[in-house]
Structures are given as structure tokens and as C-alpha cells.
């Protein structure tokens, strides 16, 4: 079936089998390998991306379900050559080691801050509780999200 998904603002059309998972559409058909794919069982969270602005585990959604919808991936965070504060935070606070969990952590972290600009440590840990990191012990991931909360992008649009 023909599926068109707008990914990071660009429509991508592909002829896929209905059983194609969204994570594979994004990686193989759209060629965006930033979104990782790990457990396949909706447990690790490395495949988290946004569909219509809300994070989902893309290994547990069909590409067909996203037909006609907007997807945002980790590649969509950076704007005009400027890293999103969540990305900068992971650099500043050493929020990754192997980097496998990182795209999912960033997409969830950005979403949290969009809805709750000053989360407590407990709220951050709760929000990433469906995602697994085997390297950092989570401490630096939490610090990275806190860094991003403390350094929001200052809007250039002023009245």
C-alpha cells in the first residue's frame, strides 16, 4: 500500500507492506537512521519518536497507521544548524556513552520539557521510565534533561 508520512516537515511516500512497522519505514524508506531499534517488544524505548507531537514506541505502530500524519524524529530537533537544548544538554552533561538509547531519551526529554518546563528529578525519572540505558546509570541522562530545562532556547521573535 502507498503510505505518505510527513517526517520532520518533509512528506515521504513509499509503497510498503501493511505490516511494515513505523520504525522500519523511518529507517529504511525515509533513510533516517537516527531513530534506533532495539528490543522490538516496546520495552527499551530507543525507537521513541513523535507522531502528531506525542511520543510513541515506533516498533509497536504500523507505518500504515501513520499514513497522513506528522512524525518528528531526533533529526528534527536541530533547527537551522542550532542544536536543541536537549541535544546540547547531552553534550554538556555527558548524557551518553554508547549512544544507543540516546535518540529515544532525547525525544522523550524534549516532550517532557515542552509540557513541564521545570520538572523535578522524580518527574524526569518517571518520564523516561519506559526507556532503558545500559551504560550511564541514568544519572547523567537526568542531568542532561535538567541542563536543557535550565537553558531554554531564547525566542528570537520579540514584539
Amino acid at each position: 500500500m502507498e503510505v505518505t508520512i510527513t517526517i520532520n516537515g518533509t512528506p515521504v511516500t513509499s509503497d510498503v507492506e501493511p505490516r511494515t512497522l513505523l520504525v522500519h519505514f523511518v529507517r529504511e524508506n525515509a533513510g533516517l537512521r537516527g531513530t534506533h531499534w532495539g528490543c522490538d517488544t516496546s520495552n527499551c524505548g530507543t525507537c521513541v519518536l513523535w507522531v502528531d507531537g506525542s511520543p510513541v514506541k515506533s516498533c509497536t505502530m504500523l507505518a500504515a497507521q501513520a499514513d497522513g500524519h506528522e512524525v518528528t524524529t531526533v533529526e528534527g530537533l536541530e533547527q537551522g544548524g542550532v542544536l536543541d537544548p536537549i541535544q546540547q544538554g547531552f553534550i554538556e552533561c555527558h548524557g551518553l556513552q554508547c549512544g544507543f538509547c540516546t535518540p529515544g531519551m532525547m525525544m522523550t526529554g524534549r516532550w517532557l520539557l515542552d509540557n513541564n518546563p521545570n520538572p523535578s528529578e522524580v518527574e524526569i525519572r518517571d518520564c523516561i521510565s519506559g526507556q532503558i540505558c545500559r551504560c550511564t546509570g541514568y544519572k547523567n541522562i537526568v542531568a542532561s534533561i535538567q541542563w536543557a530545562a535550565e537553558h531554554p532556547l531564547t525566542s528570537e521573535v520579540t514584539a
Binding site: M1, E17, P18, R19, T20, L21, H24, D40, T41, S42, G45, V48, S54, P55, V56, K57, T60, M61, L62, A64, Q65, T108, D126, C127, S129, G130, Q131
Partner: protein, 289 residues
């Protein structure tokens, strides 16, 4: 790599359209709600439908509203929406307490109440909530709608009274002024299915229990409820002794399996202890109300 077997896909444009598609394809068709139980089952070949009928465009199945003395929750309302609902929180804290410990925030964005009820997993948390509150469901087919008590809805593990060409459209909960409610779950790690969970509502008036409901999941309680424990409490003072005796009756109604989440005696202990804790808190909040 786990991927579902080949399958066709159709998006329903209305409840009527979904029912027509179900009638056309018979038992080879499956409804797709949040997909967070069905797609994993398809990956494991535990489910092999030939066509998926996607309900996600059906706004008529969304929304939480009050109708008379009932709260009506559309089948496609997600766990996240239940967690955040001021209407549900105002009447029953059991919803927030349960939803906070169902899966994780990302899964909660997709999983729905209709999918949870129809999946009928013996460890489904919302089944215990629905049974505790003595809710009901609306089931629709081409012949019209029927209402069914949640305590009669589950036929057994993974089996419900929803027919091949029917859809669950709503879950309804009676509003009970002055009710207190609570939910408690023990899980091996954050976001996991329960080792055991219990939920309850209690209405205390004039120093005695006027009404109550007890729901349990993952411990083999028939229809996720404990009617003997409820009958024992009604009309009695909510003393620690009476609550404890009721919790004991609730545990007696359970027939858990030993599995990787724990042995039978541990699960029975949890059924007793968690029931006692939710009864205590539901009583306190009803007396405070």
C-alpha cells in the same frame, strides 16, 4: 527481527463502517486500537489476523463525559487521557492511582481503555478498576447496542463477550457521592505488569459501610472481583478488624498461578495486604469527603 506476518489494513471511517468490515471479513479480522497488545501478539504469531481494522480515526469513540449519574469513557480514550482527566479524578482517585503504575508514559500514550478491556489479559490493571467500580460496557453490532456489566464481560483469560462482528464503544462508571477509592500494585520493576494489584471504592455513611466494591488483578479472582468480601463489609463499621476480615475473604477468592513474578503464597499474601491497604485508604477518603 520481530515483525507481524503479512496482513491487510483498513481504516474504519465510522463505528458502522467498522462493524460492516467485521461482518465482511468474519473472524479473520481484528480491530486495532492502541495496538500495544495486538501488535506484540502478532509479532509472536499468537495472533494472526488477515485484516486489521484501525479504529484510530473514530472521534466518536473518544472523550470522557458525564451523562446523568454515570461517567462515560469512550473506548479509544488512552491511558494518558485517563491519568490526566479532571472529571475522573474528581469522582474516583482510583483512576489516577492505577494509571500512574500502568506501563510507562510512552505506552500510556497509545494503549486504550477499550483495548485493555477487550484484551482481557488476566493481569490487566484496568479490569480490576472496572470491576471494583462495578462499571459497565456498551457493545455495538449491526443489530444495535447492548449494555453489559463489567463483572459479566470477561469469559476467561483473553476472552470476552464481544462477538466477532461487534465493537466495544464505551465504558461507564456510576457516580457515587461520598465515595472514596484507591489502587495499589506491586510490580517487579517500574512499568511492568503487576505481580498483584487491588482496587476498591467505599461509601461510609452514619459510621457504617453503605456500599463498596473490590477489584483484583493478576491473582485469578473470577471477574476480577471479590463479592463475598464486599457483602461482608456492607452494613458494618469500617474498623481495622472488619477491613482485615474482608481482605482475608478477598484473598480467599483468588486462585493465582506461580510464575516468574512469584509463587502462589506470595501472591495470596499480596492480595490480602493490598486489599487491606486500599480499603483503609478508601474508607479514610470517604470519611474525609
Amino acid at each position: 527481527m520481530q515483525t507481524p506476518a503479512p496482513v491487510e489494513y483498513a481504516r474504519a471511517t465510522s463505528v458502522g463502517d467498522a462493524i460492516a468490515l467485521l461482518e465482511k471479513h468474519g473472524d479473520e479480522a481484528r480491530l486495532l486500537a492502541g495496538g500495544h497488545s495486538l501488535l506484540p501478539m502478532m509479532k509472536l504469531r499468537l495472533a494472526r489476523p488477515e485484516i486489521l481494522i484501525d479504529l484510530n480515526d473514530l472521534d466518536e469513540l473518544r472523550g470522557i463525559r458525564i451523562e446523568g449519574d454515570e461517567i462515560v469513557v469512550g473506548a479509544m480514550v488512552t491511558h494518558a487521557e485517563i491519568l490526566d482527566s479532571p472529571v475522573l479524578a474528581e469522582h474516583y482517585s482510583i483512576f489516577r492511582e492505577a494509571e500512574k503504575v500502568i506501563a510507562d508514559p510512552i505506552v500510556r500514550n497509545k494503549g486504550t481503555i477499550g483495548g485493555s478491556m477487550c484484551q482481557a489479559d488476566p493481569s490487566e490493571d484496568l479490569s480490576a478498576v472496572g470491576s471494583a467500580l462495578k462499571g459497565s460496557v456498551i457493545i455495538q453490532g449491526s443489530g444495535g447496542k447492548r449494555s453489559l456489566a463489567l463483572r459479566e464481560f470477561h469469559e476467561g483469560p483473553y476472552e470476552t463477550k464481544v462477538g466477532d462482528a461487534e465493537i466495544l464503544t464505551e465504558v461507564r462508571f456510576p457516580i457515587r457521592p461520598g465515595a472514596g477509592s484507591a489502587y495499589e500494585k506491586v510490580e517487579r520493576r517500574v512499568g511492568d505488569w503487576p505481580v498483584a494489584s487491588a482496587g476498591a471504592f467505599v461509601v461510609v455513611a452514619g459510621g457504617v459501610v453503605k456500599d463498596c466494591g473490590i477489584g483484583l488483578t493478576a491473582v485469578g479472582a473470577e471477574h476480577f472481583c471479590a463479592p463475598d468480601a464486599e457483602a461482608f463489609l456492607i452494613g458494618k463499621a469500617p474498623t481495622e478488624e472488619n477491613l482485615s476480615a474482608a481482605a482475608k475473604l478477598a484473598a480467599d477468592a483468588c486462585t493465582p498461578y506461580a510464575d516468574q513474578r512469584g509463587p502462589v503464597d506470595y501472591k495470596l499474601h499480596l492480595a490480602h495486604e493490598l486489599t487491606l491497604r486500599v480499603l483503609r485508604r478508601a474508607v479514610a477518603s470517604s470519611q474525609g469527603a
